[in-house]
Symmetry: C2
Subunit: 609 residues, 2 copies
């Protein structure tokens, strides 16, 4: 043990005081949630974890994830006790100009992954643990969870995957204070039930009194001795508001700071020092990560007129970028034979993570891997990415470097029917600040999309299709983010048709049909939906006297149509062709006909202009 129990108790006391002062000063926050976890936090930070407070980038630092993100003041206080932040800064909690936010975000260098939406921290922790395994660095990851958030299914997804991956370098510490936000939790103080749940999911689990330092310390020791290849759970019985009698174990105090006038009384109960105030870091050193490669470039070698599915080209390109950049890894949700991420499994088995049918955890693990410098490519059916929207949203808050690929886009998947059709995925990813959305229409542009995503810093979404389509582009064509391609153009174009993915082919068919009728149209492949090539689109609209048709295999709300409307504003009359009702099962061609996005519908829309 690094320090005396008394020194650890003293850190716990100081962190309680900091949490109370900061939240009272801010006029908001969750002090009672901080107080229940202060003793656990002290043992984790000042005894268990090995890290260099002066160097957040030391690759061998132990990692900490505050899954119960509303206890942020406790984290900021721990940082102050390590010297990571200044003591006086703690009182700037929640201010507009402070990086000490109400819930942790990576504006703070030591915070890898934003938390505050509950139940997501264990997934991020698992991502860290898997990165450690991959990089062969023996750091541990500690995740502090609340009990209320263990109702979130994502916690049990992470638990199952942690067991499956033998993540013995992952610790879940659960602060069981029995009180949720609006009432007592389902399991209240039944720490044995929590432990039984973890054991049923394959963890080594112990229960402790979360305010008894000797018990907590012994529990970590026992985990080390007996945990074997299992992930470790320490389930701690605690009291919300512990240490302050006006708060302790009382309902109605969640998210409420101690009023200014009551603060002195509360602090008085904590004024007696409990031990020496000392902390000496014990970093793990001597590990380095390889330097990041120079920008990734791949070679594409499709044959013109070749027919290939963009989803399969995704798989091909995934291997190619992985050849060039060792940071690239892939995750999939038991769809790897459909998304073709299985090609990376074959080429680099250590760098492929089968995440099974649990998309929330898959997205969360990816953010953890990205925090450790990996470049994760996450794939499943586009429709099933909606399962992970909250995790994707939080990845956005973290500005995480995760790439997503949603396959089986649109009604064009055919007979499987609406449950399997991605029809809202573009809308979902458009809402993520800074996201890039690429929707390639052929195998060449699909490979280039993967290449772009691998290079780009930030969230990327690639939409891939199930059916085979003709190769349209030459192998050396480049597809910069924010660009578009004009596939048909003449001096007499009457209408601009903007499409992406599967509808590009419909638009080209329509162009041929219209040509036979003496009508020329401009066809634009808007492969970069976000950012969209606003200038290019506006120019084309002007050249066709403001007549624009947008056609997409997606609902009409929030997709390519809305992106084009946003780009052109009132500079064009835009007709949107998209899906506008719940589709049904049927053959692909019949469905694109029925749902108004086929070449015949494009022809009609052009003629109607």
């Amino acid at each position: 043990m690094a320090f005396s129990i008394d020194a650890l108790k003293e850190k716990g006391r100081r962190m309680r005081i900091d949490s109370l002062k900061a939240t009272t000063e801010a006029g908001s926050g969750h002090p009672s949630s901080c107080l229940s976890a202060a003793d656990l936090m002290s043992v984790i930070f000042f005894n268990e974890m090995r890290f260099d407070p002066k160097n957040p980038h030391n690759p061998a630092n132990d990692r900490f994830v505050l899954s119960k993100g509303h206890a942020a003041p406790l984290l900021w206080s721990a940082y102050a006790e390590c010297g990571i932040v200044e003591q006086e800064d703690l009182l700037t909690l929640r201010r507009l100009d402070s990086d000490l936010e109400g819930h942790p975000t990576p504006r703070m260098p030591w915070v890898d992954v934003a938390t505050g939406s509950l139940g997501q921290g264990l997934s991020a922790g698992l991502g860290n643990a898997l990165a450690a395994r991959l990089d062969e660095i023996p750091y541990n990851t500690y995740v502090l969870l609340g009990d209320g958030e263990c109702a979130e299914g994502s916690v049990w997804e992470a638990a199952a995957l942690a067991h499956y991956n033998k993540a013995s370098n992952l610790y879940a510490v659960v602060d069981v204070n029995g009180l949720g936000q609006s009432q007592r939790t389902m399991d209240q103080f039944d720490v044995n039930r929590f432990a039984e749940k973890f054991r049923a999911f394959g963890w080594f689990a112990l229960t402790v009194d979360g305010h008894n330092y000797a018990e907590i310390l012994n529990a970590f020791e026992k985990c080390r001795r007996e945990g074997g290849d299992q992930p470790r759970a320490i389930v701690a019985k605690t009291f919300k508001g512990k240490g302050v009698s006006m708060l302790e174990n009382l309902e109605g105090w969640h998210g409420k700071p101690v009023p200014k006038q009551d603060l002195p009384k509360a602090l008085a109960e904590l004024e007696k020092p409990l031990g020496p105030n000392e902390f000496k870091p014990n970093p793990r050193t001597g590990f380095t990560l390889p330097a990041a490669p120079v920008e990734v470039h791949i070679a594409v070698s499709r044959k013109p007129g070749e027919s290939a599915a963009t989803r399969e080209a995704y798989g091909d390109a995934l291997v190619k970028v992985a050849d060039k950049d060792p940071r690239i890894v892939a995750l999939d949700g038991d769809t790897k034979n459909s998304t073709f991420s299985e090609k990376l499994l074959k080429a680099y088995p250590r760098r492929f993570f089968e995440m099974f049918i649990a998309e929330q955890n898959m997205a969360g693990v990816a953010t953890g891997l990205a925090a450790r410098g990996k470049i994760p490519f996450v794939s499943t059916f586009a429709a099933f990415l909606t399962r992970a929207y909250d995790q994707i949203r939080m990845a956005g808050v973290s500005q995480s470097n995760v790439k997503f690929c949603g396959s089986h886009a649109g009604v064009s998947i055919g007979e499987d029917g609406p449950s399997q059709m991605g029809l809202e995925d573009i809308a979902m990813f458009r809402t993520i600040p800074g996201s890039v959305i690429l929707y390639p229409c052929d195998a060449v542009s699909a490979e280039r999309a993967v290449e772009q995503a691998a290079r780009h810093k930030g969230i990327c979404y690639i939409r891939s299709s199930r059916p085979k389509t003709a190769v349209l582009y030459s192998n050396v064509e480049q597809f910069p983010i924010g660009g578009s391609k004009t596939l048909r153009q003449s001096a007499n174009d009457r209408v601009t048709v903007i499409a992406a993915g599967i509808t590009v082919h419909e638009a080209l068919k329509a162009a041929s049909k219209l040509e036979a009728d003496g009508i020329a149209i401009r066809v634009i492949d808007a492969y970069s939906i976000k950012p969209i090539d606003a200038d290019g689109i506006v120019a084309a609209a002007k050249a066709t006297e403001g007549r624009v048709i947008v056609v997409e295999d997606h609902y009409e709300e929030g997709g390519l149509g809305d992106a084009v409307l946003d780009a052109v504003g009132n500079q064009a009359k835009v007709v949107k062709l998209g899906v506008h009702e719940i589709p049904r099962s049927g053959p692909p061609d019949a469905l694109i006909e029925k749902y108004g996005i086929s070449s015949s519908h494009i022809v009609s829309a052009v003629k109607q202009f």
Copy 2:
């Protein structure tokens, strides 16, 4: 026992044959997944369940949810064996004009809730079970799950809530065939592990050989005798493709029909009758549900100039509509003191369901309750509804009569920071076909929004705000879906400003400031974001020479701005004011200033025109 084991085996054989024939005919589908579950299905449908095949609306019918929705052919076959559908119709599986879709949807009268996105059926089942409890009708709900889908956290959310609610009328039957889509599952054939997981979550759980009828029957009997007040799980070891040697327990057959040329050989292995072909329904009768009330009308009695939060008005109105319509129930995710759904808990405790911090399950349970004729109002923070997007998407596919309320919309919540801010919720709900989105700006319109939602048939989303705002409308003002209100208007309006919710108040402040500068603006409260009052907005745009500003406390993508753009097209120049980066913690007024949606920004935008 209703029938001889041999008769049940014969039903199993017939359902295997039907599944093979239908999928081979369709050229797609999941026969191997049907074959593993056929024996379980036979016992459930032809021995356990009491229902009237002639009357899907008998309120006392036992309920069935096919959580592993890809086994739809098995369900259609069971229906044929009951006489619900015609035998020959089974060969129309997946055709464009057939209601026998690839995955079950409520196009088929007996299917309450669309499935096919895995891990959602147990929540829907729990909703049914809770409805039975509420209506005091002793029907049981049987949910057939796959093993792969038990990786989905939503299953464990449902499991926890089922235990908490003592749902002894809920049965989960798990078809453990050890094979997922792309590889073997995590737990493979370890049925004991599955059972231990269910027991850890508080269920009564048994394991059986899923192809041994005596064992399956005895297990149900034992559940009845010993299950007590616990929900019941029967975990069955099965073989994917059971009964056909070219399929049985072999990888690589997920989602693949037997090729036409191989079908005779496969069928030959199943040609020997196993017993008499007989089924006699044993419906439970004598229960009725009260007639639905005539349209709900509530009385609103706010004082002008009163200051109230729309979230609190939501709570008030929830009680008022519940007074008028006994079908109304409420669900909340441990935020009831923030969303004010707690007011319904106080008024009608039996009709309030605390769903704890598990939003996926909450949404799924709501679809189950709605299938049983309840009108569920589901509330939590708007940001956390993203956790349930896949369930909301599937509620859309089911055209479920569920109402959602997302509180704490936008940056205007203040210091809690981005993890708690709903900034993409309007975009999310816009993608649900047929959805209604209402965003009231004051307490009167908030109460009317609840009234409208209670009356409307289909998914409704109400967005509520945290801060108190002034009451603007008179108590008798009506707020029809698809309407808007013009709050400021003159003959000299230069610009139309369209707002909703919190930004209506900013727009009014801006109007006053501009008035002092001699500039008149039209202010429209677009409380109905979907469907939007396109005619009204276009008329206003024309009256202000095409100058339109839209201001929303939401990201710029997919929200009110995009809805307005879609409505006006090129008939106006639309300037969108919305949030366009990840926000941070800070005081509400400072945040709306910083993120460009305050009255001063509206004033600047008007002046820039």
